[in-house]
Amino acid sequence: MSASVETLVNQAYKYGFVTDIESDVAPKGLSEDIVRLISAKKREPEWLLEWRLKAYRGWLKMTEPHDWPNIRYHPVDYQSISYYSAPRTKNPLGSLAEADPKLLETYAKLGIPLSEQKILAGVAVDAIFDSVSVGTTYKAKLAEQGIIFCSFGEAVQEHPDLVRKYLGSVVPASDNFFAALNAAVFSDGSFVYVPKGVRCPMELSTYFRINTAETGQFERTLIVADEGASVSYLEGCTAPKRDENQLHAAVVELVALEGAAIKYSTVQNWYAGDEEGRGGIYNFVTKRGKCVGARSKISWTQVETGSAITWKYPSVILQGDDSVGEFYSVAVVNGRQQADTGTKMIHMGKNTRSTIVSKGISAGQGQNSYRGLVKVLPRAAGARNYTQCDSMLIGNRCGAHTFPYIDVQNPTASTEHEASTSKIGEDQIFYLKQRGLNTENAISMIVNGFCKEVFQELPMEFAVEAQKLLGISLEGSVG
């Protein structure tokens, strides 16, 4: 590992390039007309337009949350953002065989080959560029087993009943300010449906890329695992370096029916801004899963290293009896980054179980907050939660904060909360240096050890990627 980390720590954000491609960009600003324009561009049915408009009207009455999150930023000017941007290509999007070479090149540069022949690992990819899906690999192979994996826009056209049934069933359009905004203007995203009893034979993944300046990205992902089905899904994200902040307000909904299992992993590496805190992505995301059926399971694993500001709480509603929710998180802040992240576990069914393991790492002048809610409703007899929340500080100008909320309304439930805060000691670094490791490798080893319980939840190839990412994110954090 040392050789690769060493080279990696010595390079800046390597995904900061811009693809020079002509795009169709909607005029800046938000209005009913823009909502209608997006819906029309995507040739959506009337019910979906109505759904968007209702969300938009609700959003107008809401205010951006500034009181409770432990993050500081200037309110976003929603009229200075463009809400739709699609690369202008001669060929229709969605077909990889005919895709613009510049787009394929972009993903190749990001290390995401979209040509199926070139993919070694069994991972199917949906590539989202600004507001639209560039293409999805392995679609035909998955379809043989009845698995639907396509862009959200395509799902609306091809599988409208499924979309209509589940859209907003976990995160309603009125849920919160950013979820309402997303419901009004979401452009594309991924859609997955795994039919009864089918175990998805490969990892599914979506790669999000913001390219155009002064645009926001508002993708929406919906994953449904029918009875007894299982699927593992991954998302990755990058954006060019720009001096302005860009808004990313996504919504992810997961639905697990009886006996189904969904594993959702995120490696988030949006551009974090420069050392003075100029630029970077505002990552304001609502992710929630619902264990609808008995014995279902939803597991979130996230490695959050990028973004100027992260605001996200991947949550699980444990509705079915004996259902299981898990949240494994590594959140790293360096430079001027701020993160307020955690989870919500809502126990509704009997004997529901949840596990929360959160590892926060703060370096530079970064501020990292864990915020988690464990709620046990009166009917949830025998519910159990275990929470472990560890913070690590590197240097003396950063901060770590913990905001746990525990609300238990059933006397047979049990919840455990363990928390620790540690500082990477000079003695630990010296010990490793005395064994021949340089400072960067020493820190990388200590931090990777600290995050081990989370990394071992990631699919193999992404665990390696995540370890490398930590090295880059903590570049120059000591000394």
Partner: protein, 254 residues
């Protein structure tokens, strides 16, 4: 050429001068015991040789294999073959002993222009080295020093010494906190590692360890200087007469 040549070495922690003119020459294959009462500077000497950032060298020179040791980063010293067995080995949670040892082993190999070894080859090597400290393979999957007993931590230091094969090994109070069985294992491990091309500096408060690791030379520190030097008999004499005897002798000289 001596392995190590320390000349008039002075070092301070903050405003406090701890080493006040150390002179010591160590040749290949020799074992030097450095003894002294608490606060005499013997652990500081070990830390300064390894390059601990808490100490500032204020005067003097240290030549290691003809190189200016004080000009090297701690990891460069390690890569060049200087090993410190810590008095208080540090815990690294979540990192297995095997992973850590292989990383260290490969860093040192890389620095010497050798190829890195993969984990399978490394496991073969480890199997041999574990015998030095009479250990089974279970220890390798535990996190570095995490939850180790005092004795296990010290054994782990000797295991690292065995794997990394340094040219100069400095043992900083490796005997402290050991029961008699652990002391025997640790000392016998060190004895197995004695070699023509490996020198030892054994820092210890008590003569006890030197019954097992028999030194070629014994030096007694007092107030940041070497007050007496001699053969292995000096340790026995010291045991009989106590450190006051050395301090008194040092006062008389000063």
């Amino acid at each position: 050429m001596p392995v190590l040549e320390i000349r008039d070495l002075r070092a301070a922690a903050g405003d406090k001068e701890i080493l006040r003119g150390i002179n010591l020459t160590v040749n290949a294959g020799e074992v030097h015991a450095v003894m002294g009462p608490n606060g005499s500077g013997k652990s500081t000497l070990a830390q300064v040789l390894a390059g601990h950032p808490a100490y500032e060298v204020t005067a003097g020179s240290v030549s290691y294999m003809g190189q200016d040791l004080l000009d090297m980063e701690p990891e460069e010293r390690a890569q060049a073959g200087v090993f410190l067995a810590f008095q208080y080995p540090v815990e690294i949670p979540g990192v297995t002993n095997a992973y850590f040892l292989r990383a260290a082993y490969n860093e040192i190999r890389k620095a010497r222009g050798l190829d890195e070894v993969d984990s399978m080859d490394f496991l073969d090597l480890l199997e041999q080295k574990l015998k030095v400290v009479e250990w089974g393979p279970d220890i390798m999957s535990r996190a570095v020093n995490s939850g180790f007993s005092g004795g296990e931590k010290k054994r782990n230091e000797i295991l690292q010494l065995a794997v990394l094969e340094p040219r100069l090994a400095i043992l900083d109070e490796t005997d402290s906190g050991l029961d008699i069985d652990a002391l025997r294992i640790v000392a016998s491990g060190v004895n197995k590692l004695r070699a023509q091309d490996r020198s030892f500096i054994v820092v210890t408060h008590y003569q006890r360890l030197l019954n097992y690791i028999v030194p070629d030379h014994v030096h007694v520190l007092s107030q940041g200087r070497i007050a007496m030097s001699g053969g292995k008999e000096l340790a026995l004499e010291l045991e009989a007469k106590g450190y006051e005897w050395v301090d008194a002798a040092a006062e008389a000289v000063a």
